[in-house]
Symmetry: C2
Subunit: 478 residues, 2 copies
């Protein structure tokens, strides 16, 4: 695949970013052309690591002039393959690793200005060092980059209180598909001077430009907290608890994570070092966490008051209020073991639908019933962000039954169709937080209004007429 | 101006919305073709009041086929003339008054689904009736419509805590310039299925489509509060106070409204029935309000602790903590008299710039100094949302010196140029919350990056190639 043309391309790229920051084919590109779960393998004529916005712009211009596709990549931790190049001969991967500067932290403005390659955990730490809190939090936070978080509008465990990444972005800088720089890096809390263009780049999965820097919101640190594990009969009870807590403590309600009994059983079976610190004697389990910016606030009193009333009203079967930090951690450890437990347990077909809150109970039970009818050997477990309308439904298949790739693909398709069908029926969306990428692009049309898809494609064509930026992502080819 | 063509147009419109809901020229159109401040007067071939999204779509289709411009209008309370037709022969005004249904209130999902013509105060009341709080609040709330609030991304007094209108919108329905209906009326807290198209319509001032319905966020009601009036030496002290309060009480800090001494003197001079319940002996005054969702929370203790420390550190000159609801109301009454006081005091040239928080002190003093140098007879007073970076700088001119329209226009231009210049120098935006409309369209290019304006115009051309939707707003003709 290397020829004289590529030599020139590599030389030209090196002239922009420096020799050391261009990785040619055959030079250990695997970390960049394969997604972290190993589901997609592409190829790249070069992986480049620009060190500044100007260098990103230079690389994009070079590629645009040669009709070479640009694939932006952060920490390569995405769930849907949006940062992986395809297997065609047209790709240059742009890694943002070297743009890792935290440019400014302002406890006054409650904002932080970061470059796209900053690791999420480093941003959280920089905020904490300034006695502030950056709420975005998710499993990959030790290696994911903020540019990728913004490009995928990442969710995580703090959405209930602080919203998805979109709501945390005050300003944005991005390199457009022709190499021009959109400079929306403003730390303004209010700006009504025309259309809010930065919104286009948030959640666009790198298809409209490469995010190079951002101004993000910070919040007061959390100095008090209270946590309980609730045992519930059904999903409706979890919603009842949420409504009561929200009406009473308002935004102190920080987390609300549900798990089905089957989900916890999977963890108990597969991860010996995680102890389940409660008996498995009801169908559903709910972690409730309250937090407060003020130190020394008694959050246990309002939590216990709501729970006592709920118990009296038959809305909760049982509740364990954590009496120590250690007990709270032990309960969270169960929730954090979900992905690993499922992976150890079999071939995982996981889903990320969002539905209106009040439809979650019907959605979950319909999907479970239909999957069990269609694939009786599947194990269906559930966990997720009940306050966001985002229960992850996971079908686990026995590896022994998934040896034939074609048969497995057919099973996955069948399960996906059930989920898509029920998602559409409940007025939902097939992706709440993971995005579309490669994984879900064929499913978008089954649930999303054709007019919306058409508008999206028109905007894509407007900003990127040559289809340079991350082609093949979000939109299906046909 | 009425001719056979117009007869046919009126008949066709009446066929869509009903005879009673079409107002022809000469039939008391004034309330619709003149903005509420009487600064702009246009004309319309018809004012129509559709009763449903389908009727809005029908009217827009009719107009699109005839190359007639459509001007969406809510309560006609906007600050920049965005809802007023121009004086050309090409306009039909669409009023949303009849689409006034609150379709759903969900205390569970913390959301409310409303039609575009709902009055803001009615939405607040419907939320309160369900034991929830809809935070958008502004002077015109008794007559402005939510469709207009969303189209202008309205600000108001609750932005500090809850963000501008954009952050309150979960879902949106809009009629596109060709009459197709964008159905994004989803009550989903998370949705990562492609580009977030609804963002385009928020703050677009009706230039990309007509918003017909929305799903909005609700919050827990505010059951405890504490208020103080602070006397300050300068703007920097207000920022110091903000930083200390935010670090301590977090989001309990609900309002932070600053007024210059001159601003309060104007009120004292012109509005006899408003008592100023404090002495005018420092240059700046700051209203601080804390609120909490929990009933019976002592917010006075943390407020007084922060103020005591600030007093000790010389960050505040004096503070009055309101000891009763009546005292709090008396202090708010001063703030609410600002617009009326200024209007009674002379010819008002007001500004709405946003600048980064830490630049506000420099911005305010530079602008004041330069206006006083250029127009020595002007009186410069200030008030606004210091926590949003949005101090309104108001130049009041003696009516006696504004008898000549041309001379006055020249003075206004000169003052605007100073404000624009300083706004650009501080990295700000010329409109924080009022928008562009007609008033500011000529100023946009002085502060906003040409690339951004170009992208906006390309998006406008993409969605509205025939320039049917509210032409002449936001963008200058040349």
């Amino acid at each position: 695949m290397m020829d004289a043309t590529d030599d020139r391309l590599l030389d030209n790229l090196a002239a922009v970013v420096g020799d050391r920051h261009v990785i040619a084919p055959g030079h250990d590109q695997d970390a960049y052309v394969v997604d972290w779960r190993g589901r997609y393998r592409g190829q790249a004529r070069a992986v480049v690591k620009p060190g500044s916005t100007q260098e990103v712009a230079g690389v994009v211009k070079l590629c645009a002039e040669r009709d070479i596709a640009v694939v932006p990549q952060g920490g390569n931790t995405g769930m849907c393959g949006a940062a992986t190049p395809d297997s065609g001969p047209r790709n240059v991967v742009i890694r943002l690793d070297r743009m890792r500067r935290i440019r400014n932290v302002s406890p006054l403005a409650n904002s932080i200005t970061v470059e796209a390659g900053c690791i999420l955990a480093e941003i959280q730490a920089a905020a904490a060092a300034a006695d502030r809190y950056f709420p975005l939090s998710l499993g990959a936070e030790g290696s994911c980059q903020i540019g990728g978080n913004i490009s995928t509008n990442a969710g995580g465990t703090a959405v209930l209180r602080y919203g998805p990444t979109r709501e945390l972005v005050l300003g944005l800088e991005a390199v457009l598909p022709d190499g021009r720089v959109f400079n929306g890096l403003r730390a303004l809390r209010k700006d009504n001077t025309g259309y809010d263009l930065k919104q286009l780049f948030i959640g666009a999965e790198g298809t409209l430009g490469i995010i190079t820097a951002a101004v993000l919101k910070l919040f007061a640190p959390r100095r008090s907290s209270a946590l309980a594990l609730l045992k519930l009969q059904d999903v409706e009870q979890a919603l009842q608890i949420m409504q009561r807590l929200r009406g009473t403590v308002g935004d102190r309600l920080a987390s609300l994570e549900i798990m089905s009994r089957g989900q916890i059983e999977v963890i108990a079976e597969t991860i010996p070092h995680v102890t389940i610190p409660f008996a498995l004697d009801t169908p559903w389990y709910l972690i409730v966490e309250l937090t407060d910016a003020l130190a020394g606030v008694d959050l246990h009193a309002p939590l216990e008051a709501v729970l006592a009333q709920a118990f009296e009203d038959g809305v909760v079967q049982d509740a364990i209020v954590a009496s120590s930090e250690a007990q709270a951690k032990a309960i969270w450890a169960v929730r954090h073991s979900v992905s690993e437990g499922n992976k150890r347990s079999g071939y995982v077909v996981s889903h990320d639908s969002a539905v209106p809150l009040e439809r979650q109970a019907a959605f979950a039970s319909n999907v479970e019933r239909r999957i069990m009818a269609a694939v009786p050997h599947a194990r269906v477990v559930m966990h997720g962000h009940i306050g966001d309308g985002n229960i992850h439904i996971v079908a686990i298949l026995d590896h022994a039954r998934c040896r034939d790739a074609k048969q497995t693909a057919a099973l996955v398709r069948e399960i996906n169709e059930i989920v898509d069908d029920e998602t559409a029926a409940q007025g939902g969306a097939i992706s709440a937080e993971h995005g579309i990428g490669i994984t879900n692009r064929g499913r978008l049309a089954r649930v999303t209004d054709p007019l919306e898809i058409k508008l999206m494609m028109q905007i894509k064509a407007l900003l990127d007429p040559a289809d340079i930026m991350n082609p093949g992502k979000i939109f299906a080819d046909d």
